[in-house]
């Protein structure tokens, strides 16, 4: 049976370790703050103020009106109106502008005749995501201007008010201002917990091996399960503190809505953190080398939680094989739960499958970690 006393002694030793190394402790608590600041304040996938250049070949009242329409849009920042392709070429090469609009020499003539004026739009496509958004926004500005011109044209010809046959009213749910931080910050909690778990636990047992302490531990009556639980207690405390910091900062400093139940959130964090720490310990027990353990830890927990979990990049868009892989990434389920609780305010009736899978994962990894450690100890 597990001895509570021995487990507690192990936990106390780990706590002592942590408190004797205040710098690591401070970093363990500062990493989430830095990540939140980065994602909450500095980084954004929202495309606004796209640096734009206009080559106005015609220079007429009409062309200036179009430029004004671009100037008036919050998506574009017209840096310069130029009079040849040369500066456009140079600026796109240097990455100074992303998009250039060329207004043809027959622009106003076509419009006055009721014809179609062809605008040329040149785009730096290197960053395909930003480029697609910029193209979509440019189409929006041009379509609006086109509608305005038609209205005026019909009015001037005395054809009476012109109606748009079909109009769209769009409503955005859950994140009505379409701020990327509102969907990034809830998911970020999963990434933070994985990073902390990997940074802290993957080293701990490997370090005991490297320094030769494992043999000492082996000669004590300490059992593998007790070792795992004892080691975990201290890291669990740090991870939980990180989660609290992240939720508080996200809610109050960055104003991310928290619509669901706090209790459910705590439960999800608890289960996920436990599983992640067990995974770190398992790696640590297998690797026995801190450098190796750290690398494997980052590759198997941090990277998937960042890239394969739906944190930023939506799983739907991935190829089928990669989508299949994401089913074994625990963060995937945790992030669905986090976004659901934060943004949609949904509860256990919808989220129980996620919580169940996370619990299952935690239980399996815990069992395997204890067992592997047991075998290692015996075989030594």
């Amino acid at each position: 049976m597990i001895s509570l006393r021995r487990t507690r002694a192990m936990a106390r030793k780990e706590f002592l370790h942590i408190f004797r190394d205040p710098r690591s402790l401070v970093m363990a608590l500062a990493i989430p703050v830095i990540m939140l600041l980065l994602f909450g304040y500095a980084l954004s996938l929202d495309v606004e103020r796209v640096p734009t250049m206009v080559y106005d070949v015609e220079r007429s009242v009409q062309s200036r009106e179009l430029i004004a329409a671009f100037r008036g849009s919050r998506y574009f920042e017209v840096a310069d109106v130029v009079s040849s392709y040369v500066p456009i070429d140079r600026a796109i090469n240097r990455g100074e502008i992303l998009i250039a609009i060329v207004i043809p020499s027959d622009y106003s003539r076509q419009l006055l005749r009721g014809g179609t004026a062809k605008l040329q739009v040149l785009v730096d496509g290197s960053d395909s995501n930003t480029a697609s958004l910029a193209i979509a926004y440019a189409q929006g500005v041009i379509a609006t201007q086109s509608a305005r011109l038609q209205l005026r044209f019909a009015d001037a010809r005395g054809a009476g008010p012109l109606r748009v046959p079909v109009d769209v009213q769009s409503r955005v749910w859950y994140n009505s201002d379409l701020k990327s931080k509102n969907f990034i910050i809830p998911g970020l909690i999963a990434v933070i917990l994985q990073v902390i778990a990997a940074l802290l636990t993957s080293l701990t047992i490997a370090r005991e091996w490297e320094l030769g302490n494992m043999e000492l531990l082996l000669s004590t009556p300490l059992r593998p399960t007790e070792l795992v639980l004892g080691k975990m207690a201290a890291f669990f405390a740090i991870g939980a503190a990180d989660a609290v910091i992240a939720v508080l900062l996200g809610r109050f400093a960055f104003g991310v809505p928290l619509r669901g139940s706090l209790l459910l959130l705590a439960l999800a964090v608890f289960v996920f953190l436990f599983g992640s720490l067990c995974w770190g310990l398992l790696i640590s027990a297998l690797a026995r080398n801190q450098l190796l353990a750290y690398q494997v830890g980052l590759i198997t927990s941090f990277l998937p939680s960042f890239l394969l979990s739906g944190f930023i990049y939506s799983i739907e868009n991935m190829p089928a094989v990669v989508q299949a892989v994401t089913y074994i990434v625990p963060s995937r389920y945790f992030i669905v739960a986090l976004k659901g609780i934060f943004l949609k305010g949904i509860g256990l009736p919808l989220l129980w499958p996620q919580l169940l899978l996370l619990s299952l994962y935690a239980a399996i990894v815990f069992a395997v970690a204890s067992k592997r450690l047991n075998q290692k100890l015996v075989s030594k």
Partner: protein, 389 residues
């Protein structure tokens, strides 16, 4: 550089290599994770929005509402995956994330179109992922716009017909319109991986060289072999060179390997000069090796060194324009990125790969890296000396 004994340096280099390459698992770590990372970024990171699943609620059930649905189904951006029976299902579908958006056609839609009134369509979008939502919204408007234009053409024809039949309908006329022709440069088909895979090259060599340098030195301290090294005739400068040269070579090797992977496996174009790429890589390595050296002087244990590495590396990577455009950052943060060597190398690598830029365009970035690199190396070398003495 006077009193350096190159033989002793070579000896340390050899020892470091042996230490890293002796363990087959460590050898694997230098090769497999970089390739795995390129594969994930190459195949998984796809921000293009295609075939978004939408739900369809038709409260009108008219010819016109079916035509509108055909306009959505004809667009490659949408797949109508659910047809809602009642309005109440909308909330459940969006809550579960089964559809990205729901189009609601309310009763009276067809009649409005027939009468020539403005008919309204509602589009409910799941905004949880703001980026995808903006694109879906824009595509939705476009699909409706196409249908709207069709309706207008039809109305125009009817009026023209009515007029020829002498019923005095309003005069038909051609309305002016704007048409946009888009030409995309450098990444003509807007493929995400052409942007991300070159970024992975930067990411990997930064992390690996930074970490290996920091850990190699701290490991000696933690195990206690540093004292032994100090009592040998090896001088601090020699020790420093011996500890950094192997990792510089590892970095160059990985650059070559990942360039090959990008070219062969992902067909990312390499339009510029490879010589320029490797020359810039050397300048970049000055900064990462210097930073690794610095971390080693302030860390006692490998754990501290790893956490410090992460602390430095993570913000540097995210503020480099790797995945988040610098232009979207607040201005003070944009200024801060000028101190970030990763930013410059990212621009160079993408410039060489995608844009085929040369020295004429890229010298400012190279200069900035050289200045940063020399500064970092000088500061770290001084600290390293002091620590050893």
């Amino acid at each position: 550089m006077m009193g350096l004994n190159w033989e002793r340096i070579a000896e340390i280099v050899r020892k470091e290599f042996r230490q890293v390459l002796r363990d087959p698992r460590l050898r694997t770590v230098l090769i497999v994770p970089p390739i795995v990372q390129s594969i994930i970024f190459g195949f998984a990171v796809n921000m293009d929005v295609e075939h978004s699943r939408i739900g369809w609620f038709d409260g009108d059930r008219s010819v016109q509402s079916r035509e509108l649905r055909a306009a959505f189904e004809g667009s490659p951006s949408f797949v109508v995956s659910r047809v809602l029976e009642s309005d109440r299902e909308a909330e459940r579908l969006l809550d579960r994330g089964e559809v990205m958006a729901i189009v609601r056609v309310m009763p009276g839609f067809g009649a409005d179109v027939m009468r020539g009134e403005t008919a309204n369509v509602q589009l409910l979008v799941d905004g949880a992922n703001s980026n995808t939502a903006s694109i879906v919204q824009e595509y939705g408007r476009r699909a409706v716009g196409i249908y709207s234009a069709n309706v207008r053409d039809r109305q125009k024809n009817q009026r023209a017909l009515a007029r020829t039949q002498g019923k005095g309908a309003p005069l038909s006329m051609d309305l002016p319109s704007l048409h946009m022709e888009t030409r995309v440069w450098f990444n003509e088909n807007l493929i995400s991986r052409n942007y991300f895979v070159p970024g992975v090259v930067v990411n990997i060599i930064a992390l690996v060289t930074l970490m290996l340098t920091a850990l190699a030195i701290v490991r000696e301290k933690e195990i206690g072999t540093m004292e032994q090294l100090i009592v040998t005739p090896i001088q601090p400068m020699e020790l420093m060179l011996g500890k950094t040269i192997p990792f510089a070579l590892v970095g160059l090797f990985q650059t070559a390997m990942l360039t090959l992977v990008a070219r062969v496996l992902f067909h990312v174009p390499v339009r510029g000069s490879l010589l320029l790429l490797f020359g810039s890589a050397l300048l970049f390595l000055l900064t990462t090796l210097g930073a690794g050296l610095y971390i080693s002087t302030v860390s006692r244990t490998q754990q501290q060194a790893m956490m410090s590495t992460f602390f430095f590396f993570f913000p540097a990577l995210l503020l480099s324009g790797f995945a988040f455009p610098i232009a979207s950052m607040p201005l003070p943060v944009q200024w801060l990125t000028f101190l970030n060597p990763v930013r410059y190398f990212m621009e160079i690598v993408r410039g060489v790969f995608l844009k085929g830029l040369g020295f004429a365009e890229l010298w400012p970035q190279m200069l900035a890296m050289a200045v940063l690199g020399v500064t970092v190396i000088a500061v770290s070398a001084q600290r390293f000396h002091k620590r050893l003495d």
